[in-house]
């Protein structure tokens, strides 16, 4: 197929998905300013969902057409190389857009009777804009600006339930830790600039490999600080403390959004910065970031899973398990030094993040559904839900078992891909940790399944409404999670191809 941006379309259209997000956010503002007092929540949710779906469709179309991929002439440079569009950009934009679409559909019911709905949707879409720009960043400055564009709406969204103390407290914590880690990262960027004299990823790499580094000590500290900033965004240990609080306190669709899309955004930043700007074989004398990520991955997955196993509330359990999954995804960077061709390792992480985008979003949206019913938050409160809502509970079962790595969804393959990557690199410790953690995770995921299906419902359990938007989002996420099992090949081949372009 003809590469779109050199044939029929001008090159700037490669940023189409991000532009669609931004445009939709602006349209929402306009609609709201025309009639601020209206309660046309259907219209607002509809616009937001349509915008997200359009972004997903465009990024999916570009991915299939090969925009910015090796086979069609390589990455598309825009704005003097500050922004780049390649397979990885589009792959991650597709994740963000799918998650955003699911979240906005689900929010329609969740936000019923809330004020400031237009602001909610436009903030969500602005955060998605930040994410897709982050995926397209090719310089530390655009990366930082995109990161802030992603973070600021997120802080507001976490505190969206402003009459709820938990939500406000979570927002405040998230904001404080976020601000701190942003400044750490900004400082790290300035140190990298001081050492190499450049901000663009490619130029930084040239300086490092070509011996243009003024002081390798300063560079090392700078890289370490960037690692810290990334670890915050991906909720990796030891920068994870905000995550359970924020996910717990935030409105459940926002928890889904943050733990799936925002986390993936952190990873795309990490992949590009560390693989392109700080090439391992050149920088390893200064600082071995692969080792840093190995430790990070081990600690993150173990701590996340063990903490998840001891939780009493489902949402908190999911929050900690999502920390555990960040640990799995870090494997892609951790094993890079051991493999001859890193594209499979990195691709495995990308596959996992894509599948995770659906299964984890779905699980959090199920929690949103339960919150909507006002059932409660602990495992006991979930008792007997299946007798009232079998379809939603079947969907949740798919999410949970897929998260655990059982072959009921794409999570089985993506986890296997990670395992294969560790084995290929001979990182047996990581492989063992992955297997042990998976076995452990089955224990706490199956607690929810047991509560829903096996336990007797408590006396007062009565569900009388079945919100369309939430239901649709949960069911669609479950269907996609399941379909990704037989139809995993497009995901795996696209991910590996996109990852290969970085090397």
């Amino acid at each position: 197929m003809m590469p779109l941006q050199t044939g029929s379309l001008p090159t700037w259209t490669a940023l189409g998905p991000a532009l669609l997000f931004a445009l939709t956010a602006l349209v929402l503002f306009v609609v709201d300013s025309i009639d601020p007092d209206s309660d046309a929540s259907g219209l607002l949710a509809g616009i937001a969902t349509a915008g997200s779906l359009a972004a997903a469709a465009v990024s999916g179309w570009f991915l299939l057409a090969g925009t910015g991929m090796e086979r069609t002439g390589g990455a598309i440079d825009l704005f003097g190389g500050q922004v780049i569009v390649d397979g990885m950009t589009l792959f991650f934009t597709f994740i963000f857009a799918s998650v955003a679409a699911l979240v906005t559909v689900a929010s329609y019911d969740y936000l019923a009777d809330h004020e400031y709905q237009a602001e909610f949707y436009s903030l969500t879409l602005l955060a998605a804009t930040g994410m897709s720009m982050l995926a397209a960043s090719n310089s530390l400055v655009t990366a930082f600006v995109s990161l802030e564009l992603l973070s600021l709406p997120s802080y507001a969204l976490v505190a969206f339930l402003k009459h709820n103390r938990g939500s406000v407290e979570a927002g405040l914590k998230y904001f404080l830790i976020g601000a701190l880690s942003s400044s750490v990262m900004a400082y790290g960027i300035s140190l990298v600039y001081a050492a190499t004299g450049s901000l663009q990823f490619g130029a930084v790499a040239e300086a490092i490999t070509g011996g243009g580094v003024l002081d390798s000590g300063i560079l090392g500290v700078g890289v370490l600080m960037v690692v810290g900033g990334v670890a915050f965004k991906t909720a990796s240990v030891p920068f994870h403390f905000w995550a359970p609080e924020a996910y717990e306190g935030a409105p459940a669709p926002i928890s889904a959004f943050l733990s799936s899309a925002s986390k993936a955004a952190g990873f795309v930043l990490a992949f590009r910065v560390f693989v392109v700007a700080f090439p391992l074989d050149a920088i390893v004398g200064t600082i071995d970031w692969a080792l840093a990520f190995t430790v990070l991955a081990l600690v993150t997955m173990t701590l996340g899973n063990f903490a998840a196993a001891t939780q009493e509330k489902v949402k908190r359990m999911l929050a900690y398990s999502s920390i555990g999954h960040a640990g799995y995804a870090l494997i892609g960077l951790a094993v890079l030094s051991g493999t001859t061709d890193g594209s499979f390792a990195l691709g495995a992480s990308m596959m996992h993040l894509l599948v995770y985008g659906f299964m984890n979003t779905g699980a959090f949206l199920f929690v949103a559904l339960v919150e909507y019913w006002g059932v409660g938050r602990t495992f006991e409160d979930y008792n007997g839900l299946a007798s009232q809502a079998p379809v939603a509970c079947a969907a949740m079962t798919v999410f949970l078992f897929s998260l655990a790595g059982l072959p009921v969804g794409g999570g089985f393959f993506s986890k296997y891909a990670l395992l294969a990557a560790t084995a290929e690199a001979g990182a047996w410790l990581l492989a063992l940790a992955l297997i042990v953690n998976s076995a452990l995770s089955l224990f706490y995921y199956s607690r929810v399944v047991k509560a829903m299906w096996i336990e007797e419902p408590s006396a007062g359990l009565e569900i009388d409404s079945y919100p369309t938007g939430l239901y649709a989002a949960v069911v669609v996420a479950a269907v996609v999670t399941f379909i990704l099992l037989p139809a995993f090949n497009p995901v795996s081949s696209t991910a590996v191809e996109a990852a290969a372009a970085l090397f």
Partner: protein, 510 residues
């Protein structure tokens, strides 16, 4: 295409039944499950395969290969096909599923659509396990069996169902992970010579001695480690003593139709996988350690039978008896003789029928009396003559009465084990195992004597009479099948023998 039809028919049926209102679910599910039955019988009558699916020179029945997923260096295929070992087990699965569903009409009185939906889903997974020839596809089905089983025990089980369900789930899933690791030790050890997870390709590469060292472990040790991991993983499923403790819990708590499938088909997954993986892929390790495996087998036979002898709960008697019977299967496999391998496979089918039948008998008696305690029941033969008659016949089948399938299976296993040169003290092991038959007769006669004969003394405030036709009909059908296989073992034995014959030339076997 018949395998795909079977899989699709049961999956679609599962989805349909899930949405059918509860009051119609039982009949709709049973009717829909006839499609796989007919399909599997068509497969049986039109089967034109030969040889062993994993070994060179095999002509598989209904084979399909399609590229599925590329993951790094490996290509995963959708590869299914049947040989003489898997086809009988598929026929067993479809028939037993339908009969188990009929036997569920009476006892399952809540959330029927979910129940039958899960059973049909499990049927699809079981058919998949017995037909998949790519490791990943096979593993997908293998694990997919766990989820419905977990829910079936957990929702419709007895008083301690939650404990039993979790125990089953954790035990068998950990076993799967151990097995998974063992298998991948082999795959990574094969290195670049194998780029698919196709089971025949891997089996042939292993038998050609292409295994390399991995992570500093030399090939011989790697083989042994992988064998142990695989064996441990499958032994839990079989179950072999001492990995059996989940089984009585699961069986006692499970509702009757689920017990039927658990004993009838799920346990066969373990021995089937042992045959495919341990004994076909690593035959030299199996032969080199034949005595140790034979000890496991004989201990299972004797210990399981003794445990059955000590039980007061009729269902526990039947549950423990499975441990004993599956011990024969292991003994037959490790003997590595034509009769041993063939008899073991035949015994899988035969035990599936007979143990399913026994569990159904217990279920029917329980439906009427609401007790399973040997001490409470007495004189049931007068009140429910047909059920009692089937019970006696099934018990005789279990003991190995001629013209019943149990006889054919056990005789072949003993014959094969006795002639074995793989096991050095084969006559001794066989002799001890044969003594197990005596204990089997002991506990079955005891169970029959306590429940069926003697004066009627059960005190209930309702009248206990003949079981309804819908409860008895599946019993009679199963009994007829048991007799048919006993009279004419060649219905299956010929194709089984043909499929296991190529295994004999492997790994220094005889």
């Amino acid at each position: 295409m018949l395998i795909e039809l079977l899989l699709a028919a049961s999956l679609v049926a599962a989805a349909v039944v899930f949405f059918v209102p509860n009051e119609y679910a039982a009949k709709v599910a049973t009717a829909l499950s006839l499609v796989p039955v007919v399909g599997s019988l068509l497969m049986y009558f039109n089967f034109e395969g030969s040889g062993n699916a994993l070994l060179a020179g095999a002509e598989l029945g209904y084979e399909t290969t399609m590229q599925w997923v590329t993951l790094g260096p490996y290509t995963l295929n959708y590869h299914v096909g049947v040989d003489g070992v898997s086809l009988p087990l598929i026929v067993l699965t479809t028939i037993l599923t339908t009969l188990a569903m009929v036997s569920a009409w009476t006892p399952i009185d809540s959330r029927q659509s979910e129940f039958y939906g899960l059973v049909l889903f499990m049927e699809a997974a079981l058919i998949g396990v017995f037909s998949a020839l790519d490791f990943f596809l096979w593993f997908v089905f293998w694990e997919a069996v766990l989820v419905p089983m977990y829910l079936l025990i957990g929702i419709w089980g007895g008083p301690r169902r939650k404990y039993a369900a979790i125990k089953f789930f954790v035990y068998t899933n950990v076993a799967s992970l151990v097995m998974f690791v063992g298998f991948f030790a082999l795959v990574f050890g094969l290195g670049d010579s194998v780029t698919t997870l196709d089971l025949p390709a891997i089996a042939q590469a292993l038998n050609a001695g292409e295994l390399n060292a991995l992570a500093g472990i030399d090939p011989a040790t790697l083989k042994l480690v992988a064998f142990v991991a695989l064996f441990a993983g499958f032994a839990v499923k079989v179950p072999v003593v001492p990995f059996h403790t989940w089984l009585p819990d699961a069986h006692v708590e499970a509702p009757t139709p689920v017990s039927v499938l658990l004993a009838g088909v799920l346990l066969k997954m373990g021995t089937y996988a042992l045959l495919r993986f341990n004994f076909t892929m690593l035959p030299d390790v199996a032969v080199a350690n034949a005595e140790i495996i034979a000890i496991f087998a004989v201990v299972s036979v004797i210990y399981g039978a003794l445990l059955a002898l000590a039980q007061q709960d009729l269902k526990r008697v039947v549950a423990y008896s499975s441990i004993s019977s599956m011990g024969y299967v292991i003994l037959g496999l490790v003997a590595f003789t034509p009769h041993g391998l063939g008899g073991a496979t035949f015994q899988m089918v035969s035990h599936g029928l007979i143990s399913g039948l026994m569990f159904m008998v217990v279920g029917v008696m329980y439906n009427e009396t609401h007790t399973r305690m040997l001490g409470d029941m007495s004189g049931m033969a007068d009140r429910m003559p047909v059920t009692a008659g089937v019970f006696v016949a099934a018990a005789f089948g279990y003991m190995g009465l001629p013209l019943m399938s149990g006889f054919a299976g056990e005789v072949l296993v003993f014959l094969g084990a006795f002639q074995s040169t793989a096991i050095s003290a084969a006559p001794l092991f066989t002799g001890i195992a044969m003594f197990g038959i005596v204990i089997v007769a002991g506990y079955l006669l005891r169970a029959m004597q306590k429940t069926l004969f003697g004066p009627y003394r059960l005190e209930t405030d309702y009248d206990i009479g003949r079981a309804p036709l819908q409860d008895v009909a599946p019993l009679v059908v199963l009994l007829l099948l048991v007799i048919a296989l006993g009279v004419a073992p060649n219905l299956f034995y010929e194709m089984i023998g043909d499929a296991v014959a190529p295994m004999l030339s492997l790994g220094g076997g005889v």
